[in-house]
Symmetry: C2
Subunit: 187 residues, 2 copies
Amino acid sequence: MAGFPHKKEFPVSRVRRYLEPGPIVLVSSRWRGRSNIMTLGWHTILEFSPSLVGLMISGGNHSFDMIRSSGECVINLPTTALTDTVVGIGNTTGARIDKFAEFGLTAEQATRVDAPAIRECHAAFECRLHEDALVDRYNFFIFEVVAAHAAPEPEYPETLHYTGDGVFMVAGEIVDRRALFRPEMLD
Amino acid sequence: MAGFPHKKEFPVSRVRRYLEPGPIVLVSSRWRGRSNIMTLGWHTILEFSPSLVGLMISGGNHSFDMIRSSGECVINLPTTALTDTVVGIGNTTGARIDKFAEFGLTAEQATRVDAPAIRECHAAFECRLHEDALVDRYNFFIFEVVAAHAAPEPEYPETLHYTGDGVFMVAGEIVDRRALFRPEMLD
């Protein structure tokens, strides 16, 4: 890819802008000096303020213990420039390889957590564990986004949306219906 | 729209196919003889089998009590044929209007729950409440999908993905990367 996305600070209360459309994300973590990355499609926004996001992280992932022990992660937003990287990360395990090195990604120091951000991604949402009541039964973590950075351009990045079975849908046309909304329903 | 989508039975273990890409959905409910519909974008797949889906249903919605009391709902998948309907449903309340009548939608009898499906939608996922441990604190419901129906065509429907602020992203290009996946990672 030609250069890195130039991320700027972004309001944590507005991360729904990027996550509500349902993209595949890359979740990075760090624990005891080692870093890892996993591909994840099972997430949802839960609240604007505090900025809460729910992530289902399967217990079979090497990242699971790293994220639970550190209580932190960064949710990184990849675009079509990283399609094969997203697949590669999802098909390998951090138990055997250093994913940053293996996939030529750049670990970027985050601002509020120790887990690294991924420079090549369009946006990075730094998260601290907020609630683990459903982790044992459902592997469902609730994180608070404590800092957010996003590239202002392109305004609507070509995010990847996983349908299963090796097939992705790419973010398409933008449809503006602001005129039909009650004012209090708009951001 | 020209005719209704012709839905056929679909395996409940494969609903990630439609929900993981992150579309806006219409959630229909019934309680004490009254039906309602709400627009919802905050959801995630949680498990293949049993087929579990998490929904964040804000307590301010008229549907909240209907869904909690009945322990049921149907998650309906609208496409661009229903864009203005999706907006209209999200900007009105079932406390004052009958949304099926107001928006010209057809209530279709579901197979395993009393809540109605919406005939005009591409797919319908019939749900029973599975876990309410996080409802009081986060309005987060975990449902089991007990029956699923989806139109076989089009294979990749033009779903709507909400970015906030009155703007939707429409499902775009399909990218097949099956060849790069380990076989056990495919559905």
